[in-house]
């Protein structure tokens, strides 16, 4: 449902988060964190797998043109059609063109971040084609007209009573406030759509260059429905999803479900190489793969930032992020949230549009600890903060001149030890002006942004003195 945003106001949003969102999101994240931990201890070679996964992704990034070319050739050999989309508009135009050629009136969709990224649903609706999300959570938020609050459970912020009311209002069906009953109703309603739709639209988790295979991982079975029932299957997949071969896939499949939901494998993993071969086997008569660039190829130029393309979209980084857990997915303003969103959106949308996101982090590093492909998220966040502030060959500088001057003077001062020492001597004097008892209840701007929320404790210890005392004590005792 998300459109490309003109500006992401993370700070403003996070100041007005409804309390129900962090409460629901934390329930989900706690469960996924526990599930992941239980699976990880079962696998003694977990750390080694992470390293191999990370290395394979790095290798793929460095050979991306070779693998994509191989992929394209193999998909064609298997009887599939390959389309290249430079931009979101190109991708939407390609899908619409395919739909028009086949007189499609209704399309069923399985959860796909790539189609969220390009706003495909809007483009289809505008052309008079009904696009129906079929993942239960996605279906619910599509009815509600909102965005996802969590990557795995997008409707987790809604209570069963709210969902029941939504079903009554939008579907005109008597719906009780019971999760199992509600799922049964959705199954019936969506079953009809699966059987009726002329086109199935999906994303993809991986693309295997070796054989031109699309790999899709789902739990509900809607992914299988979308790629089995209609005669036409269109997959929209980012170019970063390509992997070298099936051996590489073993590594990522072992990492993905364990990191995402704490399952060993998701319920259904499909391996699709081209359209159906025989009349009676079910499956689409025609298979189209839309390879989406939308700025990715340019990001490859930044050797630090491009590690974001190692991501396998498990959501583990969000589940452990103290910032995400307190604001939920909406605050990140686009199709992808959490720490991974904070490093992807600014690179794709530009450091002007998403300039607040690299700061939506405490740099605690929990995300990097759990990332199954070892993306150094805090390093990339710091890298992007510098790009936001100073600009570089990829981005314009956005820091206003006074702040740039302050930053410049600070970095100069911190590099001169005599200036640093002078500063630490002056600090207690400066603080005494604002000290009231044992606290500093309010400080001048910009420190007031801290004291607005809580008092500041004055600095009392002196590191250099302490260090000197400690080393002389050590000498005495030895």
């Amino acid at each position: 449902m998300t459109e490309t945003p003109a500006y992401i106001g993370f700070e403003e949003y996070s100041e007005h988060v409804p309390a129900s969102i962090p409460a629901a999101v934390q329930q989900a994240t706690d469960r996924f964190v526990r599930g992941r931990a239980a699976r990880v201890v079962e696998l003694p070679q977990w750390e080694e797998l992470r390293q191999i996964g990370s290395d394979i992704r790095q290798h793929t990034i460095e050979n991306m043109d070779v693998y994509l070319t191989r992929l394209e050739e193999k998909v064609r050999v298997a009887g599939g059609h390959v389309h290249w989309a430079e931009t979101a508009e190109d991708a939407n135009r390609i899908v619409l063109q395919i739909a028009k050629e086949h007189n499609v009136r209704m399309a069923v969709k399985s959860k796909s971040m790539a189609t969220e990224e390009i706003g495909l649903n809007h483009a289809l609706e505008a052309a008079g084609i009904q696009a129906i999300e079929t993942d239960l959570g996605e279906y619910i938020i599509q009815l509600a007209g909102t965005g996802p609050s969590h990557i795995i459970v997008p409707a987790v912020h809604l209570k069963k009573e709210e969902i029941a009311a939504l079903f009554r209002e939008k579907l005109g069906i008597q719906a009780p406030s019971d999760p199992i009953e509600l799922a049964r109703i959705a199954r019936e309603v969506l079953r009809e759509k699966f059987l009726k739709a002329e086109m199935g639209i999906s994303g993809g988790n991986f693309l295997i260059a070796e054989t031109g295979t699309l790999v899709m991982v789902t739990n509900e079975g809607n992914g299988r429905m979308c790629t089995t029932m209609p005669d036409l299957h269109v997959a929209v997949v980012g170019i970063d999803k390509v992997i070298p071969d099936w051996e590489s896939l073993t590594v990522f499949l072992k990492l993905l479900a364990r990191s995402a939901t704490g399952q060993k494998l998701s319920t259904y993993t499909q391996f699709i190489t081209g359209p159906r071969r025989e009349e009676g086997e079910f499956g689409p008569k025609e298979f189209h793969l839309v390879l989406l660039d939308n700025g990715r190829s340019k990001i490859l130029k930044d050797p630090i930032g491009r590690e974001v393309f190692k991501c396998i979209r498990c959501g583990a980084c969000a589940n452990v992020c103290p910032v995400y857990k307190n604001v939920g997915g909406f605050a990140y303003g686009w199709f992808i949230s959490g720490p991974i969103g904070a490093i992807l959106s600014p690179q794709m949308l530009g450091t002007q549009t998403a300039r607040e996101l690299p700061y939506a982090s405490t740099l605690c590093g929990a995300c990097a600890e759990v990332c199954p492909v070892k993306i150094p998220i805090p390093t990339i966040l710091r890298h992007l903060r510098r790009r936001v502030a100073q600009g570089d060959e990829f981005a314009e500088e956005t820091l206003p001149p006074p702040l740039r001057l302050t930053a410049g003077l600070t970095s100069f001062a911190l590099a001169q030890s005599w200036l640093y020492r002078l500063g630490t001597r002056m600090l207690p004097v400066f603080m005494s002006i604002f000290k009231r008892g044992n606290w500093i209840p309010s400080a001048p701007y910009p420190l007031s942004r801290w004291t607005k929320a809580r008092p500041l404790p004055p600095f009392t210890a002196h590191f250099r003195k302490w260090w000197k005392a400690r080393s002389s004590k050590k000498k005495d005792s030895s």
């Binding site: 290249w84 059987l195 993993t269 499909q270 009349e279």
Partner: protein, 218 residues
């Protein structure tokens, strides 16, 4: 024909279409990093045990049966689940087991596995074999052909897979090595599930609600 996306990738990576690839790997860099040695399988008996136990953990029903128990087990399944309509793969093995005859004798209406999707959606039970089994994850691996249509394991509300110990493989590495040239494969690990509403586990949201796996021991 030049492809603008590939061109743009090359530009970012600092190479061109003319930049030669390494002759030994046909890549820009050294070969892709080495991957773990595959798992070593245990005895068939203990692999079967691990497999059936994993199915149970995934809310499925996994049973070891002998040839002679199939009739009675099918009768129990049909009665317990109130099966009126069923469909089954028409593979040599299922034919040899006489699955359609057993269902007929139980008064179950049979639908052709190549019937259209609307008809198949009305079935209570879909019966398949499996091409491979993965013990560690309780996974059944299914291929696709006119003889083994995909709809049978997807549309009916109950899926029964009748399998044999010789389908067991040590792990994914082995399955992929044998089957990567197939045009379609699906790994099924448990019954269709979701936790999308208030994190309450719900089975059978789009795919089958019940998964039965019968391991036939000869």
């Amino acid at each position: 024909m030049t492809n603008p996306v590939i061109e743009s990738i090359r530009k970012s990576l600092g190479c061109t279409a003319q930049t030669p690839l390494s002759p030994s790997t046909l890549l820009r860099t050294s070969p892709r990093p080495a991957i773990h040695a595959p798992r070593q399988p245990e005895s068939t008996g203990s692999e079967t045990e691990v497999f059936l136990n994993e199915i149970k953990k995934l809310s499925g029903v996994g049973q070891k049966l002998s040839y002679t128990e199939i009739d009675a087990s099918m009768k129990a399944l049909v009665e317990e689940q109130n099966v009126r309509k069923a469909t089954a793969w028409e593979t040599p093995y299922l034919r040899q087991l006489g699955i359609t005859e057993i269902l007929n004798s139980l008064g179950v209406e049979l639908v052709s596995p190549n019937a259209n999707k609307h008809e198949m959606a009305l079935c209570d039970l879909g019966i398949t074999e499996a091409d491979y089994l993965l013990p560690e994850t309780g996974t059944i691996v299914l291929g696709s052909s006119a003889e083994k249509p995909r709809g049978v394991s997807l549309l009916p509300r109950i899926h029964l897979a009748i399998v044999r110990p010789e389908m067991l493989r040590a792990d994914m590495h082995q399955v992929f090595a044998e089957a990567k040239d197939r045009h379609y494969l699906v790994f099924i690990s448990g019954a269709s599930r979701t936790a999308d509403i208030e994190l309450t586990l719900t089975l059978g949201v789009h795919g089958p609600k019940n998964l039965y796996v019968w391991m036939i021991d000869e």
